[in-house]
């Protein structure tokens, strides 16, 4: 009895599979085409950290930049993902063995693997994101995000009606805390300019401590942290750390109040239409552009080990448009931001963070 049922079931599955094949496999075979030869003998390669390519943060952004550069150059690139910390050394070594010309490593966790591989392979070029390595064949790609986050803090303070704004991070590491440093300084600057007393929760600038979720995954921790800030009357939230903004958006929707969300890294108004109606603005950290520039530059022999530091001045960091909030913010705000940018660039407004590159 059981055997017949099983046979029948197997027969059914086989029939399904066969019909799927018949339906799927009916297209005409393509003509044989001669092998295309790559125009350029250049293989750029990239290694992720344990966050993986779909981290909605710097791994993803770096891969985007690599994809774009490879498409532009008409070359194939090799991307390897690190499953855990043990994978960094072997992954970089594998790319060296694959004959990569340029290897981009994403994140400070890969610093040791990159340093060792760069020393052992002086002919291969390396670039590392968010970390400084002093070697003739390594280009550090760093961002002085504090400048852009300062603008976000100013905007938040200006927009807030409750007089309370909040930020929280994933893990207290420099690429995260630098956003929070800038955000709090921006709020303070607004207070001193306008004589207001907007409160910034979630980060203690002097003590360098604050609210963290303990990871870069959206979930209960991120949700409760966001809710905690909302409960303290915050009406602007800046979650720093890849996809944890999902949970912040959820907390905002649950609260039923009009609370504005700020994005980090890229303009989340554009990248995530589901929550676009909540987005006041985003702090931009143009990793993709930086990777694109380094990859395309190295292809034509333009490569040096001088650190690339993204600033407001060179467009490496910045602030996104207000989009839907254009009418909600103060009409003079856009002009004030322009003035702030000019002030930061010419040095008349000082914005620093212990996490800034070169500190």
């Amino acid at each position: 009895m059981t055997i017949t049922t099983r046979k029948r079931a197997l027969g059914g599955i086989a029939l399904l599979g066969a019909s799927a094949l018949v339906l799927a496999g009916c297209a005409a075979a393509p003509e044989e085409t001669p092998e295309e030869t790559a125009a350029l003998d250049y293989t750029p390669c990239i290694v992720s950290d344990a966050g993986g390519w779909d981290d909605k943060s710097f791994n993803e952004a770096a891969l985007d930049g690599m994809e774009e550069a490879a498409a532009e150059l008409g070359v194939e690139y090799v991307a390897v993902e690190s499953a855990d910390e043990n994978a960094y050394e072997p992954n970089v070594q594998q790319l060296v063995d694959q004959g990569c010309d340029l290897i981009v490593t994403v994140g400070f966790l890969l610093a040791e693997a990159t340093t060792n591989a760069a020393a052992a392979n002086p002919d291969i070029k390396f670039a590392i994101i968010d970390e400084f390595i002093d070697a003739p064949n390594v280009k550090p790609i760093q961002f002085n995000t504090v400048e852009a986050a300062f603008l976000a803090g100013y905007v938040a303070a200006s927009y807030s009606e409750t007089g309370v704004v909040g930020t929280f991070g994933g893990i207290p590491i420099p690429p995260v805390t630098i956003f929070m440093d800038g955000f709090v300084q921006g709020v303070e600057y607004y207070n001193s300019e306008k004589g207001t007393s907007v409160q910034a929760l979630g980060w203690d600038l002097a003590g360098q401590t604050g609210a963290f979720t303990g990871g870069f995954a959206p979930g209960t921790e991120a949700l409760t942290t966001a809710q905690g800030l909302i409960d303290q009357n915050a009406d602007v939230l800046l979650p720093v750390g890849g996809p944890i903004y999902f949970s912040a958006a959820e907390a905002i929707r649950d609260s039923g109040r009009s609370i504005a969300l700020m994005g980090v890294d890229k303009d989340i108004f554009v990248s995530d239409p589901d929550i676009a109606d909540l987005v006041l603005t985003s702090v931009l950290k143009n990793i993709a552009t930086a990777v694109y520039d380094v990859v395309t530059g190295a292809a034509t022999g333009e490569f040096d080990s001088a650190p690339y530091v993204g600033t407001l001045e060179n467009g490496g960091v910045g602030i996104a448009e207000f989009h839907d909030f254009e009418s909600a913010v103060d009409s003079e705000l856009a002009g004030e931001i322009e003035a702030l940018i000019a002030g930061i660039i010419d040095g008349s407004i000082e914005v620093t963070s212990p996490a800034s590159p070169g500190q």
Binding site: A24, A27, A83, D84, N91, I173
Partner: protein, 443 residues
């Protein structure tokens, strides 16, 4: 596994001859069927059932997992997907693409884990993969032994991550920040690390012995405590954080405390591998030749019976968790003193604490079984990097293969039915006395 399943059903007792009755009594006595044993706790029984299968099941489970992995590779391969669109006008293309995908993947696995035949011109490079396999296997074997030892006492040690982290933090602190003369430095760092792991593991045994707290819950919670504690120390200047930097990362391990390489600086294989061989021999000796190991196994078979026999079960729990913690701790020490010598971050356990459970299962909790299972997993890990870099196969596929291995091992009846193997003797027990089986046959 109940005893009456094997009682002869042919005829009523009246029809049996006196000789048959006597014979049956003897068999029952020799196989221990007539003894009135206290009921075996469920968790001990589950562990026994999982490990009751033969080594053949392990081999077949690996084989099946590789077959399923191959199917997944075919399904996810782009070339196959492209060729299958015109399957009926030129089926050869699809088949060739399928073959290319699977052969490419598994040959890359071989190249990355055993011998790089593309570089036979340079033997030093060609044999590097094998040393990588052994280097990757080192922490897996150490942690696997710790988990396996606890299994043999009937405890599920899910706390590998915590024990590794605490051991690594202790050894790392000594190794990075307390200068000492060579050799002594390495020994002190190693021993401090092992003590750290042993205490973190022993705490679990103590809580179970004193309060009856279930070790699964305790170990999982201690994992979190260890992780956040070490993360905190790593970003606290003056604790583990390297002076003069902001990243949550320790300073480099001093040269004097690093595990010396076995085959020169070109290879990652180091003293750690010798230490796990020694550990394997030690665990084998402990379990099979020592009085302590006898008590361990007795408690693992049935803690109630062990208590009746005069074994202090509570003490055994503490003892085994101390040793298991030290063994898992060795994996953590290896990670900092042998692997991340440039400084370690809080992800140093690299999920080895959990992979160790798989290794212990595949090795059927026997010391040498764990050793070879560790090497197999080390090979899968080492090969996965080559699979990804040269064939573009996602690392996830290798993780899926590993997970399939666990699945098939945890379900021996499934493997048996696929290969039409006979169901094993229901009387089968660990180390069934040979004479008892003979008595059955001669009947």
């Amino acid at each position: 596994m109940s005893d009456d399943t094997k009682t002869p059903k042919s005829g009523t007792p009246k029809e049996q001859t006196a000789a048959e009755k006597v014979h049956e009594q003897v068999v029952a006595h020799e196989t221990g069927r007539d003894a009135t044993e206290p009921a075996v706790p469920r968790s001990n029984q589950i562990i026994k059932e999982i490990f009751g299968g033969s080594a053949a099941i392990s081999v077949l489970a690996v084989f099946l997992a590789l077959v399923f992995g191959g199917i997944l590779i075919v399904l996810t391969d782009e070339a196959v997907a492209q060729a299958s669109v015109y399957f009926f006008s030129r089926p050869g293309d699809t088949l060739v693409a399928m073959w290319d995908a699977v052969a490419g993947a598994y040959s890359a696995l071989f190249r990355g884990s055993v011998f790089n035949y593309l570089r036979v011109d340079d033997l030093a490079v060609a044999i590097r993969p094998l040393t990588e396999t052994l280097a990757n296997a080192t922490p897996l074997i150490a942690a696997g032994l710790g988990v396996a030892l606890a299994f043999r006492v009937g405890l599920f040690n899910i706390g590998g991550r915590g024990q590794m982290l605490i051991a690594a933090a202790a050894a790392g602190y000594v190794g990075a920040y307390i200068p000492m003369p060579p050799v002594i430095h390495l020994l002190v760092a190693l021993i401090i690390g092992l003590i750290g792991g042993a205490l973190w593991g022993g705490l679990v045994g103590l809580l179970k012995a004193r309060t009856g707290a279930h070790e699964v819950i305790v170990t999982i919670m201690l994992n979190y405590i260890a992780f956040y504690l070490v993360s905190f120390l790593l970003r606290t200047p003056g604790a583990l954080q390297a002076p003069g930097q902001n990243n949550p990362k320790s300073g480099p391990i001093l040269e004097t405390a690093q595990f010396p390489p076995l085959l020169g600086d070109a290879y990652n294989l180091n003293l750690g591998f010798i230490l796990v061989i020694v550990s394997t021999i030690y665990v084998w000796y402990l379990l099979n030749r020592s009085a302590l190991g006898f008590r361990f196994r007795a408690v693992g078979e049935n803690p109630h019976a062990a208590r009746v026999a005069g074994i202090k079960v509570e003490r055994v729990y503490v003892q085994v968790m101390l040793i298991a913690g030290a063994l898992v701790g060795l994996a953590g020490v290896y990670q900092v003193l042998g692997n991340f010598t440039g400084g370690f971050a809080s992800g140093l356990d690299a999920s080895i604490g959990f992979d160790a459970i798989t290794v212990a299962l595949l090795g059927r909790s026997k010391p040498w079984g764990v050793f070879f299972a560790g090497i197999l997993f080390g090979a899968l890990k080492a090969g996965s990097y080559t699979m990804q870099a040269s064939e573009g196969i996602p690392v996830d596929i290798v993780l899926v293969v590993q997970s399939f291995i666990v699945l098939f091992i945890a379900a021996p009846p499934l493997v048996r039915s696929i290969f039409r193997l006979p169901t094993p003797d229901p009387l089968f027990q660990w180390r069934t006395p040979k004479f008892a089986r003979t008595a059955e046959v001669t009947k």
